[in-house]
């Protein structure tokens, strides 16, 4: 039985943790949240120096040639730090998409720049408050040109390249495709949109005859997005677990210090049991995420189930940990000066990023049915 990360992976984790504790404390998150920057550029630069963005990119394309397990430990630490950087958009999603389905030319054009952080990727699927489905997606791709509006797009202002879910003609599921767009070319207009977590800026992107190429074959958008999301779900889960643990310890530390009625509040069962419940949810999520990581790394047939389970558990854990961290803090926890807010905001951002818990539960059971029928 060897159901754990390797010593090397743990060392990498420790390294990233130290780097972020040093370069990305909560005051950096606060700065980005409160300010105009799209992300913490100096943190991003430091991460590039450590080669983090190229973790799962083959050496031939400028990466370090490691794999999903290394991404998992990085993701956990980014979550712990509430890091205000476009890592999930660029690495979990766009890098993976290009790596898997890009032509040789597309890979050569983008992977080295994604690896060294000089390019930032984003995945653009949403077109407002509804699920992006063949019925609802209006951004169109035809004759190498993209037209229409995507909103919200995570890290959309900072991004240099986007993978976009487009309607490429036809009907039903086959009408959707993925397209690759260099956002620095013409025909791309971006405006910031207000969200509950301004520590990760989101944009509305309007495409007006923007030059684009298909990625991974016409009409395969739904299928590819599902595949992409399975791997990403595992990474998001680790990020959520990191966040949940950070929120848990923040609440616990406060509970050890804050007094009410002559005792620290951490000696009251209402607080103790609440924090114990956070711990329980976080451990359930971690165990599910480990299996997800293993399946992701070995390309196991169980990945779709494992990824959905990890995603469901981790979303639940982070939502609960972040909200009960505020509650444990009491009044001070609801003030702008408190750091509790960062996890509360981020938990919702991550929960909705690649489909919410209801959608993932539905996926999970569909996949269980399929497995049991097989």
């Amino acid at each position: 039985m060897n159901f754990d990360f390797s010593d090397d992976q743990k060392m990498l984790k420790e390294q990233v943790r130290k780097f972020l504790a040093d370069k990305c404390p909560m005051k950096v998150v606060r700065r980005v949240l409160d300010g105009d920057e799209t992300h913490a550029a100096e943190v991003w630069a430091g991460m590039a120096e450590l080669g983090l963005m190229g973790t799962a990119i083959p050496e031939a394309y400028g990466g370090t040639g490691l794999g999903p397990l290394e991404l998992c430990v990085i993701a956990e630490e980014l979550g712990r730090a509430c890091a205000p950087v476009p890592f999930s958009s660029s690495v979990y999603l766009v890098t993976e998409a290009i790596k898997r389905w890009g032509s040789e030319a597309q890979k050569k054009a983008w992977l080295p720049r994604l690896a060294d952080g000089s390019a930032i990727g984003t995945l653009a699927t949403s077109e407002g408050p509804q699920a992006p489905t063949p019925k609802s997606v209006r951004v169109s791709f035809a004759d190498g040109k993209l037209n229409g509006i995507k909103v919200p797009v995570a890290d959309g202002e900072a991004a240099t390249v986007a993978v976009v879910l487009v309607n490429s003609g036809g009907t039903g599921a086959r009408s959707l495709s993925l397209a690759l767009v260099d956002l620095t070319n013409g025909g791309v207009a971006r405006t910031r949109v207000a969200t509950v977590d301004p520590a990760r800026k989101h944009a509305q992107i309007t495409f007006s005859d923007a030059k684009a190429e298909l990625l991974g074959g016409k009409g395969k958008g739904v299928q590819l997005l599902n595949e992409l999301y399975d791997g990403a779900a595992v990474l998001f889960a680790f990020e959520q677990i990191g966040g949940a643990e950070a929120a848990m310890w923040m609440g616990r530390d406060y509970a050890l210090q804050r007094q009410a009625f002559g005792r620290v509040i951490g000696s009251y069962q209402a607080i103790k049991h609440k924090l114990a419940d956070v711990y329980v949810k976080t451990e359930l999520a971690r165990s599910n995420a480990y299996y997800g990581a293993m399946m992701y790394a070995e390309g196991g047939a169980d990945l779709p189930i494992a990824a959905a389970a990890a995603r469901v558990a981790a979303t639940d854990a982070y939502d609960f940990a972040a909200q009960e961290n505020i509650q444990t803090h009491g009044g001070i926890g609801f003030t702008w000066e408190a750091d509790t807010q960062f996890h509360y905001r981020r938990s919702r951002l991550l929960a909705l990023a690649i489909g919410g818990p209801t959608a993932w539960k539905e996926k999970l059971v569909t996949r269980l049915e399929r497995k049991n029928a097989a």
Binding site: T125, S126, G128, P129, Q130, A131, P132, T133, K135, S136, V151, P152, A154, V193, A194, T195, V196, D197, H202, Q259, A260, F261, G262, R263, Y268, A270, I271, D319, Q323, I326, Q327, G330, G331, I332, G333, F334, T335, W336, E337, A338, T340, Q341, Y344, R348, L349, A351, L352, A353, I354, G355, G356, P357, T358, A359, K361, E362
Partner: protein, 407 residues
């Protein structure tokens, strides 16, 4: 069983309506007109004018005796007035703390000269009052306060900090609880004063909340001088005085008016497409709507039960204590769930269904679970007052305040 007024209540309602029709503008169904009104910077001025008008008609505090400018009416008459007034475009909310908590406390402990000076201006909206109890280290445990009042000649000097004070920046007066003797157990060394908020050394700063709004203040006191004549109750009896005030507060805290609830969620679910069809056709969405509906209706009819007691001239039962325990988490959860229905766009605070109101619910819900008694404190209260279960062990009971936390 019915929801009808008694003949007396109906007559009073008619009388109130006639007066309101003559003195205020009825709301249209257009909600934006109300909103616009609330953002009006001149609101306080207008509120003072309206308050004066009400006071002249006897409607400013219906249950107060006539000698204090009230109507000598019943609690149910007060409810009827408030129900009716809510249908008119009038600015409210500035005087609730003063008239609901501060002045009743003065009435209980001060003599005729104080009351003669302060009751009428408060009732007519000329002077606004605030309540200065909470402190950074005294939240759920209100008696843990550290703000000191020290004897100085025939007066007192106050130093310290209060937080979560509503309206401190526009208030004229406030009642403040202070520690006058740190050498005795914490409930015993407290003394209450009323103070002029314009005194030198009083500084109110807004507290910015997670939501970005600043509904409260922190108030700093630096060598603020208060004459002994402004003491409310005996020296060392401040806790007893505060309980009078807080008892009135508990009656006032309830569900915040407005905001989106289950009706709006149902509408959202009807208008929103999930991956596999309209959200409203999803049984899991339907299950949640049903659960929240049952909670909303439960609270509504619980209130009706309370009103029935008032209408019969009885004391309301303990059932009203459940309102915030239910409403606050619902607000947070319902908001979060609605955001999820909107997909990735659920994090957007504009250009979404409800114009960001669901996002606000989710955000404010986190605060509402804390303000005016945390979920945990409220459950203690229900367990102790309704179910008769004992208080938790109090280790600070017989320990001098300045010895607390030293062992």
């Amino acid at each position: 069983m019915d929801f009808n007024d008694t003949p007396e209540e109906a007559a009073f309602r008619q009388q109130v309506r006639t007066w309101l029709d003559a003195n205020a503008t009825r709301k249209s169904d257009d909600k934006t007109s109300i909103r616009a009104r609330v953002d009006d910077p001149e609101l306080l001025k207008k509120a003072k004018v309206w308050q004066d008008k009400k006071a002249q008609a006897g409607y400013a505090r219906i249950t107060w005796p006539k000698e204090y400018g009230g109507l000598g009416g019943t609690p149910i008459q007060q409810v009827i007035y408030s129900q009716e007034e809510a249908n008119y475009l009038v600015p409210l909310g500035f005087f609730d703390i003063g008239l609901g908590m501060c002045i009743p406390t003065l009435m209980a402990y001060c003599g005729p000269e104080v009351l003669g000076r302060y009751v009428k201006p408060a009732l007519h909206g000329e002077e606004v009052w605030c309540q200065l109890f909470s402190e950074p280290a005294a939240g759920s445990d209100v008696a843990g306060i550290r703000t000191r009042a020290e004897r100085d000649g025939d007066g007192w000097v106050i130093n310290g900090q209060k937080v979560w004070t509503s309206g401190a920046h526009y208030s004229d007066y406030g009642i403040i609880i202070t520690r006058t003797d740190p050498g005795v157990p914490k409930h015993q060394g407290l003394t209450m004063f009323y103070i002029d908020m314009k005194s030198p050394g009083v500084e109110a700063r807004p507290i910015k909340q997670i939501s970005g709004a600043a509904n409260f203040n922190e108030v700093f006191f630096t060598n603020v001088r208060v004459p002994d004549s402004q003491r409310v109750g005996e020296v060392g009896q401040g806790w007893k005085v505060a309980l009078t005030t807080l008892m009135n507060e508990r009656l006032a805290v309830g569900t915040p008016a407005g905001g989106v609830d289950v009706d709006e969620l149902l509408e959202l679910a009807r208008d929103t497409e999930l991956e596999d069809g309209p959200a409203i056709r999803n049984a899991s969405v339907r299950g949640k709507i049903a659960e929240w509906y049952v909670q909303s209706q439960g609270l509504k009819y619980t209130k009706f039960r309370t009103l029935t007691s008032l209408s019969k001239g009885q004391q309301p039962g303990p059932e009203s204590s459940i309102a915030k325990i239910v409403a606050a988490p619902k607000m947070q959860d319902l908001g979060a769930f609605a955001m999820e229905l909107m997909g990735q766009a659920g994090i957007m605070t504009r250009d979404v269904p409800g114009a960001g109101a669901f996002q606000q619910q989710w955000m404010f819900g986190a605060g509402f679970r804390i303000a005016g008694g945390t979920d945990e404190i409220l459950r203690n209260i229900v367990a102790e007052r309704v179910l008769g279960l004992p208080q938790d062990i109090r280790v600070d009971k017989d320990v001098a305040f300045n010895e607390l936390g030293k062992k």
